[in-house]
Symmetry: C2
Subunit: 436 residues, 2 copies
């Protein structure tokens, strides 16, 4: 049992409150009391918020940061560079790279990650002796970095509508949806850690035949379910040609839409798509820094929320790992698209990055409240970036950066903040998979 005294903490609908005492037993918060003076407790000076949920991660993409920027082209040309890194990974190098990436996340106040995991098999698609060797590697990396993880084990069976996987894509494919389900079920049975959730993912309507969509959705009926949705116009066009409907409509027809679902990106949607996702109370997982980087476009975040969807956030390709930047980018990109300010209140963006996100990953967390996972992230309200602001949600969302994080407690344990060590781990693990 540890007691923390927070100089000023965010209590959700109550806003920021001075003098909050948080009692933590093991990995969970057991009690929260307000308006308390400093006392014999671990002192958290500054602004304390719940930990962030990074709901969409491809850990190994961290190796590409700033390395694809000389390229012209689009999402599809970028993907070739990404595939070249994927092709070099094995369980050991994947573990090392994911560990370094997750440690970078932990430094920034992320306490849980949703890993959209599709690199399952060895070269040419041959299974490893343990068919879940890659999944276990990434789960272990998260545990060793102090993060909770939702391993979103991804079904990938075709390279386009009906096209056979080729090249590195063969490492993604289990061949059939039944083989995918057998492997995932084995992984799920192996895991006995409440900080690890095994969920399912449909890579995209390009990569899972429509006849198998319902099977993926029902394989883990209580677990989170994620899908890349309409990130690219080309996907919509191809889906319309093949099935005569949008990707969202195709998912709806096959019973994929539900509160369990996170629709990742959800960039190029029709009004009907927005209504469907909203009515089903899906999560809409925006990844704005990646969507900028990949020239995807600006998705209808406000309209989705107004229709009933829950906004969540992810750093996806890790061009940037900074949830402050993801939060404000939702609103700022909306402004660029609409010419209006204030579609998103700062508090609602902070909810998306915390409570909304954790719930979408299957964790009761993201609130400083009894029963929640004990994640406490403290920010400096007096740095050159944050000084002079009102020490409120506006500060957290519109002024702070990851460099303002001064203390991280994740699942009840203090994360050692050693940026030099994380930098060394990143350099070493990335060099191992990018050096000529």
């Amino acid at each position: 049992m540890t007691t923390y005294w927070c100089e000023r903490a965010w209590l959700g609908s109550s806003g920021f409150v001075d003098g909050v005492v948080v009692a933590v037993d093991g990995p969970h918060i057991t009690n929260v009391s307000e308006g308390e003076p400093p006392q014999v407790a671990e002192r958290l000076s500054g602004l304390t918020i719940p930990g962030f949920a990074n709901c969409h991660s491809h850990a190994f993409h961290r190796a590409l940061r700033a390395r694809t920027q000389q390229q012209r082209g689009d999402f599809w040309t970028w993907r070739e560079t990404m595939y070249a890194v994927a092709d070099r990974l094995d369980p050991d190098t994947y573990y090392a790279l994911a560990l370094a990436t997750y440690r970078e996340m932990a430094l920034t106040g992320i306490t849980a990650v949703g890993e959209f995991h599709y690199l399952h098999h060895g070269p040419g698609g041959a299974p490893y002796d343990d068919a879940n060797a890659m999944g276990h590697a990434v789960v272990q990396a998260a545990r060793d970095a102090g993060l909770r993880i939702a391993l979103l084990d991804t079904c990938y069976l075709s390279a386009g509508f009906g096209a056979e996987p080729s090249g590195v894509q063969r490492r993604f494919s289990d061949g059939t949806v039944d083989a995918w389900r057998d492997r995932v079920s084995a992984l799920d049975a192996d895991v006995a850690d409440p900080a690890v959730v095994v969920g399912a993912a449909i890579h995209s309507v390009r990569a899972v035949p429509h006849t198998a969509l319902g099977d993926v959705a029902s394989a883990l009926p209580k677990a989170p379910l994620h899908v890349h949705l309409s990130e690219q116009v080309a996907e919509n066009t191809a889906c319309l040609q093949r099935h005569g409907c949008t990707p969202t409509q195709l998912l709806a027809v096959h019973g994929v839409l539900s509160e369990r679902l996170s629709a990742v990106h959800a960039t190029h949607l029709t009004a009907s798509d927005i209504a469907l996702l909203g009515q089903a109370k899906c999560n809409a997982c925006f990844c704005p820094t990646t969507e900028r980087d990949l020239a995807d476009g600006i998705g209808p975040s406000r309209q989705l929320a107004d229709a009933g969807a829950t906004l969540t956030l992810g750093s996806d390709s890790h061009a940037v790992i900074d949830m402050h930047e993801e939060m404000r980018a939702v609103e700022l990109d909306e402004r660029l698209g609409s010419g209006r300010r204030g579609s998103w209140a700062a508090a609602d963006l902070l909810h998306a990055a915390t409570a909304g996100g954790h719930r979408s990953l299957g964790f009761t967390a993201g609130e400083i409240a009894p029963g929640a996972w004990a994640d406490l992230v403290t920010l400096d309200p007096s740095s050159p970036r944050t000084a002079g602001t009102a020490a409120d949600c506006g500060t957290v969302v519109f002024a702070a950066t990851a460099a303002d994080v001064t203390s991280v407690i994740a699942s009840g344990r203090r994360v050692e903040l050693d940026p030099d060590a994380v930098g060394r781990d990143l350099a070493r693990s990335i060099s191992a998979v990018t050096a000529p």
Copy 2:
């Protein structure tokens, strides 16, 4: 005479070079040699680049950071909040706030600032005993922060096309263009510091009658000239109604377009506007983080450069002070608008933030080359943000943030990097002008 050994430095068209020795005498670089081993010299470990030029600043807007984000509305509603701060400033509070803001800039590697200065007079528009008291305050703030400054003394005579200034706007106005010129000429005569340039600015075609545009442009015939241009569609519409042409065309007719001119924002342009600005070899000063914040839109940066204009960058309202963010935002916003990657190479964005920018402010700087002002900014290539990248322009533009700056030498003098002290100065000076 001081000699610096740079582990790796950016030499413009030669790219990044290992082992660069830079000899500095007083405020200038006297010699640069490449491929040198470490020697008896001050060692700059990491990536060394020239200092940044922040070409468009309203120093006092720093007080608004993260404080206007609960507002809905647009540029015009935001402006009311900004006016409320402007109305409370006097030479002392203006000096203190500008000093703290410029010190924040210095921490981030900015070595010269272009201050678009229009808050000239006392309450109600009454001149101070020294009519340039406010201008002197801001110049002294820059000097005390270790920055060079181009004080762009701004002519503001009307609140719209032909409307009388009201409220705080009366503090901006000299009444007539002749009175403005007399005051500016006196200021120019007072300044005898090569690190201070007095330039002119046309606030906008809204605020200077068309008959006076040529007078402002010719008042300081060798100095920089800046103008807010087509930031808002409403300005274009009003100009078209009043003059039957676009703001750019109006400036062209009155001889304002030249290599001396920086067209700030240049967001909503016609093809003809772009051609005019390009043919005249104007600077196009983009302020992407402010343009996001104010819901201005995405300007045609690539088309302007292709037409012959020079891109420069500014942090304008200081919602963010981080030239890395400004550089990458140009390309990332272009991607959101166009759906294509790679309109801007990282090296060209770094040029915009350095050599291009300093030249637009009237300084020979922004290059690590003999004769240039001695600005050397060093970045950590091994931080959690930058580790694993290629230690090249991609690292500087797409991975680093202001938090990665480890050493700043500005005009030959080392800037003390004390973020805690800067945070305290910001909090105190902002509280003085925002507390109820």
